[in-house]
Symmetry: C2
Subunit: 359 residues, 2 copies
Amino acid sequence: MESINVELGQRSYPIYIGENLLEQATLLNKHIKNSKCAVITNPTVKELYWSSLEKVFDEPPLLITLEDGEQHKNLDTLNIIFTQLLENFFDRKSTLIALGGGVIGDMTGFAAACYQRGIDFIQIPTTLLSQVDSSVGGKTAVNHPLGKNMVGAFHQPIAVISDTSSLKTLPSRELSAGLAEVIKYGFINDIDFLHWLEKNMPDLLSLDNKAMTYAIKKSCEIKADIVARDETEQSVRALLNLGHTFGHAIETFTEYKTYLHGECVGIGMVMAAEFSHRLNLISKSDCELSKKIIASANLPTQPPADMSKDIFIELMMRDKKTLNNNIRLVLLEKLGGAFVSSDYDPDILANYLDQVHQR
Amino acid sequence: MESINVELGQRSYPIYIGENLLEQATLLNKHIKNSKCAVITNPTVKELYWSSLEKVFDEPPLLITLEDGEQHKNLDTLNIIFTQLLENFFDRKSTLIALGGGVIGDMTGFAAACYQRGIDFIQIPTTLLSQVDSSVGGKTAVNHPLGKNMVGAFHQPIAVISDTSSLKTLPSRELSAGLAEVIKYGFINDIDFLHWLEKNMPDLLSLDNKAMTYAIKKSCEIKADIVARDETEQSVRALLNLGHTFGHAIETFTEYKTYLHGECVGIGMVMAAEFSHRLNLISKSDCELSKKIIASANLPTQPPADMSKDIFIELMMRDKKTLNNNIRLVLLEKLGGAFVSSDYDPDILANYLDQVHQR
């Protein structure tokens, strides 16, 4: 088992990464206070892991099973959690455990942030995407019909348990979606990791445990370091949104139904690379290499054909990073070097978005 | 104009108290960043103050008018706020302004806590209750059908502007409800203030400005001091809940419709005093004096006749202070001295609740 510590003063917490961690009772139990505990999951994940996780608890926890999918990540589903916690007299010392992917983690985390103004929660991410991204850093949220993750809180978990064995049951599309975020860390600030990914992508796609554990740990280290420097995204944390402004617009346009989040991030990163090239920030060959690495993870690289420039711009204006009507984008100044900018010619963006379907 | 500072490090903020503050443009404008701004209010308050407040802004703010009353303090109403903010492209540097009583303040504060994971907000409390209590200290929340303020956040305002002139239009029941919280501060830790209140209650009820300004400032000082020592209610802040555990049970039982919050706190404080006397903590005469002061503010002192012991206990079990099924109550060891305890004989509580209608 590998472990990393996210350094946030009083809110610091460990991330455990390894095989068969779900079955290790002490790992979970040492973080639960002497009070009520609820496991929040969805029917698919419950079917796969509940029988083994259940054995870990001394007292049976409350099990809350939510409907599966990003379209259920909203205030109504959140209220279902609150109702169950209140009906079972959960108090301020209670602990919530998120067992599932990013949707379950985001909702459980936000429920923990708000229930009685804040209780503890533990992340047990079961998808690659949530193991390398959403379970680390304390961003929690639900969606609003007018935008993704628009209602939420910064609320750090007290522990993250990433069991690599759970990736064996992951559909291949979800594995690729997770790899999009792994690749993102290379683009942001680690050219060596990017080259490692270029070389080891086949091993990752075939779930080679050594390669996968390295990729998860490396991803968590890069993210934990950025989060420790900027917990509430006042500055450097915004780099983690590489590909996300384009990606969120695609998710909103397709109503969270057509693509997985990581797939949209994959398309968004290709667009960020292409737009960076349009702005003469990176070379054509670096832009091509970016697309090649993303495509090698079996990710889509093209936005929906019916998504016009005007739709892109309207949806991106709603992005949380947009300030004073100025669309802020994470761009690449080199492979392994990202920066945030709203200081570009908007006509070049409009022109790029007009032509994006013609490549 | 008087002013106090709530000392919370980076989250410190001023409270301004005085006549006609709503009309002072600089007071408000110096706290608003260079971005979008929304005033959130209800139809009653809008009718009274919007025309004078509107003049203060250089750019017209977004006006969001919510339905009036505690029964609308829920996630659905919160979502109305989010929709309007998103439709108007509000960003992370936007500011919300709560213009109204505690319901408006709690909802605006919680909306600000969650919108895009947290934006600034300013409190302009227009009721006595909100000026002395809910606008100070950063507790924000909405209700759930199973309990009051069960979903919320700690989110401090960046400024509080308490215009005493707005009390002139306050219905007398609401004035008394506010006085309940003022009296509470005396009970908690200031016997001199309690005797001052005993003497000056007629002046407060007739809105004598000097007496009222003193009572508001004193209340805010006591609360600000307690909040500064314990922002997230790990210890001493719980004392501010004197009368609230009984009171919240009454509010939930009557579905927030029969009584005002402060009226329930008034009844709850009488019950806390009586139960403290049952436990031999305070004398019969101190218990009688407590009731006399509360009654002198024209507050009810008797819980609903159809509220049985069993109903009280079931509802109090859901209180946020209840831990491990142990009902924690704020009790009086003397007038001007409160403490939190769950270390009492539950039979004495049951016995008291059985007989509470017989006094």
